[in-house]
């Protein structure tokens, strides 16, 4: 009786972890989750407003704060979408590749065909 319970439990565990086992068996897991390649702007255009690792993690915070400053106080500074687009001239090869990979829709220009102009590859 006890034996049967243990076997049933082990079988359950195997079923539970099957997806992981299969993907582990099919090669290097890490290779299948490579970060997407994005096209960086011309380095001659100069430095970004903050350094790359900071921007990667916090660009949305900067944009949101800038929005608040611009709308509420009329201070339109460097962290605006239009300033981003002066170097990052194509959202399809820059913003979208990471955003699609992360499953996050940028509300500025994607959700319900957002309100802000964004340059795309069609331009």
């Amino acid at each position: 009786m006890k034996m049967r319970a243990i076997i049933a439990f082990l079988a359950f565990l195997i079923v539970l972890t099957l997806p992981f086992l299969v993907s582990a068996g099919s090669g290097n897991i890490l290779q299948s989750v490579q970060a997407p390649e994005i096209e960086l702007p011309d380095p001659e255009l100069g430095e970004c407003v903050e350094d790359v690792s900071y921007m990667r993690a916090n660009h949305m915070v900067l944009l949101k704060e800038e929005r608040e400053r611009a709308v509420r106080h009329g201070e339109r500074g460097d962290y605006s979408l239009s300033n981003c687009f002066s170097c990052h001239t194509n959202i399809t090869t820059f913003c979208k590749r990471c955003h699609d990979y992360a499953g996050v829709k940028p509300g500025c220009f994607e959700i319900e065909e957002g309100c802000h102009y964004a340059p795309t590859s069609n331009d």
Binding site: R67, A70, V71, R72, H73, G74, E75, R76, S82, E112, G114, C115, H116, Y117
Partner: protein, 242 residues
């Protein structure tokens, strides 16, 4: 425990009474206190010279729509207006009937009822006196549309594809919009689009707190009138020759 039952009940009663009175008194206070912009350096204002406005083809309406992506469907029921030119005729016995054309837009009140009623604080007054709507916040409840005595606000009912000026966001369905004094241009040091492009130079824009500015000089002559002065809202659009 020093408090007896009677004192406790009395205190409770006072507290309940206090909390009943507070919202009303806060409203009163707010209406007194919210005269924003009076003390600050800049206070944007506009003078409309009705003697110069010929009503042309109502070009300023079109200029405004193109500058701010205001949708125009050609249907009175859905059309949004930031600026509209009213045609007014006065019939008086013995006086020649004259048609006047009066451009009407948000009057950027010092004490705006639209801001007081907004439940989300989407409507607000900037430090320089411009009344604006934070369209990311607006829930489209339309309280403000009803509160505004100048009918300056309109809700975007239908999806709009108009995007003539990419610098300004496209209009989103379900939010209320109104004249912004072209805040995006004012922040860059430019005049609003209608002021710059009026073919008869009938509109003048400037800082009314600066005594040397053109608007301040015109207002100082006391030849101007405001619309619906009985409302005591402190509108900042002044009409010359009304």
């Amino acid at each position: 425990m020093g408090m007896d039952r009677r004192t406790f009940l009395k205190l409770g009663g006072a507290l309940a009474l206090g909390s009943l009175i507070t919202p009303g008194s806060q409203l009163l206070l707010a209406s007194q206190e919210n005269k924003t912009g009076n003390e600050s350096k800049t206070r944007w204002a506009m003078v409309v010279d009705l003697d110069k406005c010929s009503g042309c083809n109502k070009e300023c309406e079109e200029i405004c729509r193109d500058e701010n992506n205001v949708p125009h469907y050609g249907n009175e029921r859905y059309d949004a207006y930031w600026l509209r030119v009213a045609d007014v005729k006065q019939h008086l016995p013995g006086v020649e009937t004259r048609e006047r054309h009066i451009p009407l837009m948000c009057q950027h009140c010092d004490n705006p009822p639209c801001v007081h009623v907004c439940p989300t604080k989407a409507s607000f007054v900037r430090d320089d006196g411009i009344t604006l709507i934070d369209e990311h916040r607006c829930i489209g409840c339309r309280y403000c549309v009803i509160a505004c005595p100048y009918r300056a606000r309109s809700l975007i009912f239908r999806k709009s594809d108009k995007w003539t000026n990419e610098e300004v966001p496209k209009m989103m369905i379900g939010v209320v919009t109104k004249c912004s004094f072209c805040a995006h241009r004012v922040d860059k040091g430019q005049d609003p689009a209608c002021v710059e492009k009026c073919p008869y130079n009938g509109l003048i824009f400037g800082n009314m707190n600066d005594p040397n500015s053109e608007v301040a000089k015109i207002i100082a002559t006391k030849n101007t009138k405001i619309l619906r002065p009985e409302k005591h809202l402190g509108p900042k659009v002044f009409y010359k020759g009304l």
